[in-house]
Symmetry: C2
Subunit: 420 residues, 2 copies
């Protein structure tokens, strides 16, 4: 009897460590030859599954699959494509089952954020009603750290580490230049809806006066006068002011700073990034020379300085997903469970996909200092373990040697194409 | 008899490795106790020397001085302050000699770019005429790689490595997202006057189709139509287009893109950075979704991924400067000399300060491909050795442990203060 195949798919914004989860999945499936036939990967996420564009991972060498552990981005391609409700998108869900059936796929490992877990859950439901049962296991991933149930989201720890290191280094540069030149440096980081990533910048500050001096969170309405007073205070006290700003900071009325009247007040329309707006504000009101950086994709692809904890957890979650499937679990997602105690320890737990989906966990208010410009000890205790450890990729000629898979397509079996 | 003291000063924009030169200077001075008394550092560069704000480096432990080797930025503070010609600024030069005389300083080690070497040269001249001979040795430093005589400038190799790694990683992210989302990614890098740093991004591309697909150099007048055609071509061929742009790119008329009519043509005034302008151009003309990053200070402070070659050269140049002084040389600067042959080897040579000063070496035209969008094999052969090797700092709790010196002030001896 032919053993059932598995399908792995990556979804949403990629991270420095999502391929470590892929590595965990594929290596574990390969180990359990009595349970699984082949493992395919969907090219460009769920789109590949819908269009029957599958990748034959058996064509990849052991070495190359192992190299996924230290290779950033999504090795099989990802996509931003959310399946709608069952009622509205039933043909899409049915098509998935058609593709699965054609390729004897009985396991789906879906690596993504809240939306993706919602899709995985629905696939598990439809497969039941259509009489072609598929085991659907989610694998968490998002730099935004906003997934429910899991203590933290894989991908976040590495962004957090990158941001904390970057603001520490850049602020040292600023400190050296500040006597005659730049007084204010602003680092813009991701986090449209919550300040998790911005908060991580606070880890760089270990004692009074350390950078960053100010963190601007989406959770705290931006108050220009109070902010400017704080900047001035910092420059007077320390000679300079280092700032981390979340791309998602908002005005008192809830509008994004980048879309607000505040922007127009400076006579400029937003060209991209909130850092230049903050910089202009500082320049126009306090006349300090500024510099700013926008780390954008750099922060979430910086595998060269990934958190070892993050890499290990990402791999372990991929591995656990396969083990869950082998143990007959369905419609669940392995999660990170933080153990109580002084020394950070984690284990793998599980959460039902039905409840994971579409719930965003925000940065708790008590992780932000009362003045709204820093992180509390509680936040630090939570965040710090997530950035611990380095896990350097191999280098050749000064550059990290990331793997590029062959990504050989599986021969299509269905007659009709499917238009997304 | 009291042994003569030495003074070390950092000048201009700091780098990830200028402290490695400081380490080389101080460790070597400490070794030659028969030649030197103490070594002071000028707080905030030449300003500290003028205002008699000197730092007593003997208060720093061996461990902390050794830690300078892996600590970015300028440990004693730097400044942007160019001394004018002898005719115009004679009182400043005389003041320097006064300070030197008061503190028995007979050696000046001046760590900076072209302007600083000019200052060092003039100090060596004035000291002669004032009858207080000071040995002035320059130590090269600049991320811009535009110093004459030396094969490359310390600081550049590490920025080059950072930029090449960053565009490689971000472009992998882009590749994974491009099917349904972002098609164009733009990384803005430093280099107001020359494209050395932008060129380094080209190292990430090892074969046809590799990112970056386009590099925009200050040396090549920006031609929007040709650029857009190339972007479109890339997206059609590879699915996405990764771009490195130098902050200093110019229009055909020689004006900076950030100050030009081209900017206004999009209806926006520059808020900082050329990357958003390029992004807007791509969006408005080709309607591709874009992302961009501005690395700013991050690129030159990224000690976490410094080039080992750069660190070793920076240290060696600091050490050589002291040895030059011991050997009776004056008004010279140690330089990197590339040895002929297939395998990269370098030695220390010397250049006269008089000739080093104020000469900028641009990126040769034959380092840029004919179409103006990439680097040639000649450029690659020159650049590659400079980024080779990793030299990781120590970490604790997930963060690099950079040293912060005590920087204890030397008691002033002069009656009068000096206003800059």
């Amino acid at each position: 009897m032919t053993k059932p195949n598995a399908l792995y798919a990556q979804s949403g914004g990629v991270t420095a460590v999502i391929n470590a989860s892929a590595c965990g999945v594929i290596e574990t499936v390969r180990k359990y030859t009595d349970h699984f036939g082949n493992i395919f990967a969907a090219r460009n996420g769920i789109i590949g599954a819908l269009t029957e564009d599958l990748i034959d991972t058996s064509q990849e060498s052991e070495h190359d699959i192992a190299a996924l552990r230290y290779t950033p981005s999504g090795a099989f391609g990802s996509c931003r494509h959310k399946l709608d409700t069952l009622e509205k998108s039933r043909p899409q869900y049915e098509r998935l089952i058609e593709v699965f059936s054609a390729h004897n796929i009985k396991y789906l490992f879906y690596n993504g954020g809240g939306d993706s877990q919602d899709t995985a859950y629905k696939v598990s439901q439809v497969s039941q009603t259509l009489g072609y049962p598929v085991t659907c296991i989610g694998i968490p991933k998002t730099v935004d750290n906003d997934l429910s149930f899991t203590d933290n989201s894989p991908g976040f720890g590495s962004v957090a580490k990158y941001v904390a290191i970057s603001i520490r280094e850049a602020a040292m540069d600023l400190a050296a230049m500040s006597f005659t030149s730049t007084k204010v440096f602003i680092l813009e980081v991701m986090g449209r809806h919550s300040g998790w990533i911005a908060a991580a910048g606070g880890l760089a500050a270990e004692k009074e006066g350390d950078a960053p001096h100010i963190i601007l969170f989406p959770e705290i309405p931006f108050a220009p006068e109070i902010f400017l007073a704080r900047v001035q205070d910092c420059v007077k006290k320390f000679g300079y002011c280092a700032i981390v700003v979340s791309e998602g900071i908002r005005n008192a009325d809830g509008s994004f700073l980048t879309e607000s009247g505040l922007v127009d007040a400076f006579g400029h329309k937003q060209l991209g990034g909130v850092a230049p707006l903050i910089a202009k504000l500082v320049k126009s009101k306090l006349n300090y020379k500024y510099h700013f950086a926008i780390s954008d994709y750099l922060q979430r692809s910086a595998r060269h300085i990934a958190s070892k904890t993050d890499v290990e957890q990402s791999y372990a979650l991929g591995k656990a997903a396969v083990e869950f499937a082998i143990n007959g679990k369905n419609a669940v997602m392995p999660i990170i469970v933080r153990q109580p105690g002084e020394n950070y320890q984690w284990t793998i737990g599980e959460a039902p996909l039905e409840k994971v989906a579409n719930v965003e966990i925000g940065l708790p208010r008590d992780y932000i200092t009362e003045d709204g410009f820093g992180i509390t000890e509680k936040a630090r205790a939570y965040l710090l373990p997530l950035i611990v450890g380095e896990d350097y990729p191999p280098y050749k000629n000064g550059l990290p040697q990331y793997v590029k898979l062959k990504n050989v397509a599986v021969v299509k079996k269905l007659e009709k194409a499917f238009l997304i």
